[in-house]
Symmetry: C2
Subunit: 122 residues, 2 copies
């Protein structure tokens, strides 16, 4: 067997509503890096950071910030939608997300979340 | 043979001056994404973008911008030093660079550039 690479990265491809869609997930100690793309681009780069507030057991809070690309309100919604569970499952690590989708329908979002699960590196 | 993944990514590891060093290079259509790490972290995230000015045949110009992490003058110097040749070799694509080095000596910089060359994805 080849030696396991130190930095774990997995990718998958699936056609969703006729559009080839790629997901790449890479694990770093301080970030999970995920790219969701239907253009082959990194796209809009968003950081999703869990807020650390003690004593709260209500809904988890996340701060989203667009680092590269257009800063549109819906981008923050999509980013939280697809990345919150990754942060929660990876010990509250922040997520760095590249988002480059032609189709942002609920069905596509559900599909890309399943693709992220299939590329679990955390 | 397994099908070639759509998004090309390569990584390598080498011990430089006693420090395990990882390099990961991933090709997107609009960016080359490179992480240089001696901490397993993404580290400081810097974009290196070639300036498009016509009629100039002097030294190439690049704009560096820190997207995540401490914005220190030397970070821009290191980022240009290791990423300019990648941009030039990849058809003037911008580079997104994660920089997380314990040792920023000239020798280490030379070594990581050789590691990037060994992970050529463009």
């Amino acid at each position: 067997m080849a030696p396991q690479p130190v930095i774990r990265s997995r990718q998958t491809e699936k056609t969703i509503n006729g559009i080839p869609t790629q997901v790449v997930c890479t694990e770093f100690s301080n970030y999970i890096f995920i790219v969701l793309t239907q253009y082959g681009k990194i796209g809009t780069l968003v950081s999703i950071t869990p807020d650390t507030r003690s004593g709260e057991i209500s809904l988890p809070l996340f701060t989203t910030r667009v680092l590269l690309g257009k800063d549109e309100p819906l981008t923050h919604v999509y980013a939280k939608n697809v990345a919150m569970f990754v942060s929660q499952e990876s010990g509250n690590r922040p997520v760095l997300l590249g988002l480059s989708l032609k189709d942002n329908s609920a069905e596509t979002m559900k599909n890309v979340k399943d693709m992220i699960k299939a590329c679990q590196v955390w």
